[in-house]
Symmetry: C2
Subunit: 294 residues, 2 copies
């Protein structure tokens, strides 16, 4: 059995990390992830630079890394302008976002959840026409910082409503880090019944359950897992939320469970140590401190 690790450090990680990296170091982060074994890397997001200054170098960064061998660069887009920039920048895949709760969706992307679905239905075929891979991340699947509990039915309705666009991949995201494995298992099992898209899991370690949720998602059919080097990241709308699950920790958890990832644990640990050195701070991932086993 194998599961793909999608490296999201350059985008989700850096966007929400306190420190900022210069573009050339972001490019090195991307290259290092590929060398370690991740092919799919969420390189950047094509959003309003005034709103997300940390990703204002999206086009420039893509120009540097675009022809990196073995890299499948992913760009995030939330509207047509973003999609057009992503296409021009020659991403291989575009990732759209729909947040299940309206309050959170409005704060994140200025539209209701239903409007975000409608936007994906309109834009995704355009992306496909340009030969791009397509995925949709469903945010706040397991809980919302503004609306609290999110019934699974609401998530399933979003999945159903996205079906006409037939995305290649659908991700269930625990944006604020509140899920427990039983909830993850139920959600992935139910979504799997509704769509033929590949499933991806996106987890934050806010309440120390990140890896437990990764393993539950994989057990219930997720074929890809988002992770960030060193576990960098956060969530702008949930200040206490800590980073994505750390790439090197996910590699340990999966490989020691007999699930191959294609990512070298030593190289992933080395990347986390490098990034920790660049920032001059300890990062949340644990394997760079503990080392592997045996």
């Amino acid at each position: 059995m194998s599961v793909e690790i999608v490296e999201v450090g350059p985008r989700d990680g850096l966007q929400n990390h306190p420190a900022t990296l210069p573009t050339e170091q972001k490019a090195e982060l991307v290259r290092r992830a590929v060398v370690a074994g991740s092919r799919r890397v969420e390189v950047t997001s094509f959003v309003n630079p005034a709103k997300v200054p940390k990703l204002a170098d999206a086009d420039e960064l893509m120009a540097i890394v675009r022809d990196e061998p073995d890299l499948v660069p992913i760009g995030l887009a939330m509207n047509e302008r973003g999609l057009n920039r992503a296409i021009a920048a020659r991403v291989a895949e575009v990732n759209f976002v729909v947040i299940v709760s309206d309050t959170f969706c409005r704060r994140n992307q200025g539209m209701s959840s239903a409007e975000a679905v409608a936007e994906v239905l309109r834009l995704l075929p355009m992306a496909r026409d340009h030969g791009l891979g397509t995925s949709v991340t469903i945010g706040a699947t397991f809980g919302c910082p503004f609306e609290g509990e999110i019934p699974l039915e609401r998530v399933l309705r979003v999945v159903d409503n996205l079906e006409p666009a037939a995305p290649d991949e659908v991700a269930l995201a625990d944006t604020i880090g509140v899920a427990v494995p039983s909830q993850v298992q139920r959600a992935f099992a139910a979504v799997r019944e509704r769509t033929s898209a590949n499933l991806r899991g996106h987890f934050h370690n806010t309440r120390n359950l990140g890896l437990a949720n990764v393993l539950a998602a994989v057990g219930a059919g997720a074929r890809a897992i988002d992770a960030s080097v060193g576990g960098i990241g956060g969530c702008p709308f949930a200040p206490a939320a800590t980073g994505n699950v750390a790439t090197e920790d996910v590699v340990y958890a999966l490989e020691r469970s007999g699930i191959s990832t294609g990512v070298s644990q030593d190289a992933a640990i080395d990347n986390a140590r490098w990034l920790s050195g660049v920032f001059g701070t300890q990062l949340p991932g644990m394997l760079s401190r503990s080392g592997g086993f045996p």
Copy 2:
């Protein structure tokens, strides 16, 4: 469904934490754990004070807390002298330790694994004759810092060899924090077939899998879980090993999974914040930073 959280912060936590607490503050830690809802508390260990100076106040601490209402004080003992001290100090339960690997067992308690089993077979009936509850913690069940992988068969042999003493409880301990949930599930399921003792799980969060392993153990029949306030602790023979799973994090993971613990999440978080204030440092547990949900 319900699972008991055994608070091990005062012993396993403090023994291996860099900072030291005065006896009166240890007593407050014990009292706070009981107020939060843990009845069974590993108060101290009756070992050679020259070897473990941090626990040199074992008798004094027990004298302070012994008559605390609702407290079931547990004392650790590794030889007859320790057991006699524990009895004199009026613990309600004694916890013995056997480490599966000989190298680790010799370094921890100066005897081979087989010798440690023999010692338990000799001492446990004495403890029972004094009306004490009895448990045996099987250390390095999931891996050893000196011998590497530990085949499950070796663990099962220890369990079988302990059976004549009929301990009330057997704990499988991931002393150095290397286990993954599938391994935990297998071990608990196999041990459950071999003994009528209650099962307890003991996990460190060294590789970020502590809560995943707790949930796996509970799913496979563990009726009690060791945890420490704030996640304090470590392992003297595995320098990179971080603390026990944090009490407040375990409460969140179990309660949100529909498993009751009898421990108040708010009180557990409050205890972790208090201890963090006492030490003047951030502790590894996450819930004291994130808060609960919803």
